[in-house]
């Protein structure tokens, strides 16, 4: 496990967190390189299915980050996002999904340091947890098929 490097996907809003990540860069702050950033205009645009798709395609952890409440560039996008995250997190937990692999945060354009610390923290925690196999192995697992599709030897 010592050479496992987690793949972290970050869904971030353009106006705050993306700018904050940019600031971390221009300040030459060193932080873990495991994160792949996907830029959205606003956290309100982030569909919950995107998180599922990230995990299905090999992500070991996901970060979702946007503007602090009351600071949204579009006034209320992050308020809607917050409600959506509360709901989705509860659903995932009920289904037995490991919600500790998803981290939500508010990172503003001035918080380059916070962004770097957040990525470091998440990468460390996912590295300790190990690779996320639960979804990518679902179809080939030996789950007792109530109504099987293909039987193979």
């Amino acid at each position: 496990m010592s050479d496992f490097e987690p793949k972290i996907v970050a869904f971030v809003c353009n106006w705050c967190t993306y700018a904050g990540a940019d600031l971390a860069g221009t300040s030459r702050t060193k932080y873990e390189p495991n994160v792949r950033i996907v830029r959205f205009p606003c956290t309100g645009r982030i569909d919950f299915m995107l998180l599922m798709k990230a995990f299905e395609n090999g992500a070991d952890g996901v970060i979702i980050s946007g503007c602090h409440p009351n600071d949204c560039h579009y006034t209320s996008g992050n308020f809607h996002a917050r409600r959506r995250w509360i709901t989705f997190r509860s659903l995932l937990d009920f289904m037995g999904f490991d919600i500790d692999r998803i981290t939500f945060s508010w990172v503003s354009a001035a918080e380059g340091k916070k962004w770097a610390e957040l990525v470091n923290e998440v990468t460390d925690s996912i590295r300790t947890k190990g690779p996320f196999k639960e979804i990518s192995t679902l179809d080939s697992s030996k789950l007792k098929q109530l109504f099987y599709d293909e039987i193979t030897k």
Binding site: K144, Q145, L146, F147, Y148, D149, E150, I151, T152, K153
Partner: protein, 334 residues
């Protein structure tokens, strides 16, 4: 055809010997929710015997709900490797089909193999042996006697068992069936009458009369009334032992992936949607009419067989409790 007897005491032994032969054995299993489903089993104690019909048919053995047609991988030199390997399809035995179910396999074989033989179906069917058990009980959704079958029919199966007290009267119909018979467990017998041991099912209609009257049923104004309850799900088509409609889906990336054949249903609104956006079947009435006419008219025209076997699964499973034989009767009334 050979006639044999298997004592009830020897049924578990025979069954377990099938498992030990290394083949996959699929049998009806009672699940915690009180319903019976076909599932692969490891021993006879998992098999359910006291039920009328399973929820889903066993067609998934030869026509799986998701089937990989081939997979592709892009190689380093830019060429694409396509893999299509049917060698992993195992020898399978289906135990506990009802006579309606095994006769449905006749339709499936006609459909998949007649004109352009489907290699996937062919391979799976060749490696499958069908063991049916006659019906001692029926419920009011069963109507096999109305479509030319009966609870003790040997259509389509390799072996038919009929429970008679403490024996299984065994009719061995094919060479495949014969290959399974263990001379130590089975004894010879003369022909016996099954009638006293079969369920009594009243006929709802005469299939010959229906086949005639349905020729003019397309224009019937009854269709709308009969289809009002239909909510366009796929439950009836998916549980039906003769429904064969499918969709082809590709899953993967530009680097690798697979082509899958998945079940589809004519009840879905988008089933007949064209790429142009036009949909020739614009409402549920048209779609339900298509389904019923396909079962009782178009299959007859195309393949010579009525594709409905009277198993009653669609009636039991329908969320709106639509009843196929009631519908057929009503649209063919003079």
């Amino acid at each position: 055809m050979e006639l044999k007897i298997l004592t009830s005491a020897n049924i578990p032994t025979f069954f377990n010997s099938l498992i030990q032969s290394g083949k996959v054995v699929v049998a009806p299993v009672l699940k915690k929710n009180g319903k019976v489903f076909f599932e692969s089993v490891e021993s006879y104690d998992q098999v359910s015997t006291d039920y009328i019909q399973t929820v889903f048919s066993a067609k998934s053995v030869v026509f799986p709900k998701v089937e990989e047609l081939f997979s592709y991988t892009k190689k380093e030199d830019g060429s694409v490797e396509i893999t299509n390997d049917l060698s992993s399809v195992p020898e399978t035995i289906i135990w506990g089909l009802r006579p309606c179910d095994s006769s449905a396999f006749n339709y499936l074989t006609e459909f998949f193999l007649r004109e352009n033989p489907d290699s996937y179906y062919k391979t799976r069917k060749e490696r499958t042996t069908l063991i049916s058990i006659s019906c001692a009980k029926a419920d009011d959704a069963c109507f096999c006697t109305s479509v030319g079958l009966n609870p003790g029919s040997t259509e389509g199966c390799d072996i038919l068992f009929t429970a008679m007290g403490d024996i299984f009267y065994t009719e061995v119909m094919t060479e495949k069936g014969k290959a399974l018979i263990d001379a130590k467990l089975f004894t010879e017998t003369e022909e016996k009458s099954k009638e006293a041991h079969l369920a009594k099912i009243n006929t709802k209609f005469s299939i010959e009369e229906i086949k005639e009257r349905i020729q003019n049923a397309y224009e019937s104004t009854q269709w709308k009334h009969e289809s009002m309850g239909c909510l366009s799900c796929g439950a009836c088509a998916f549980s039906c032992p003769t429904c064969t409609c499918f969709d082809i889906q590709d899953e993967g990336t530009t680097e690798n992936g697979k082509r899958l054949r998945c079940w589809d249903a004519c009840g879905f609104g988008q089933f007949t949607q064209h790429a142009s956006g036009h949909n020739p079947k614009t409402n549920q009435t048209a779609r339900r009419r298509q389904r019923l006419l396909h079962k009782f008219k178009y299959s007859v025209e195309n393949l010579g067989i009525v594709s409905c076997v009277g198993c009653g699964r669609c009636i039991r499973i329908c969320p709106a409790h639509l009843n196929i034989f009631e519908n057929i009767l009503n649209v063919t009334k003079a």
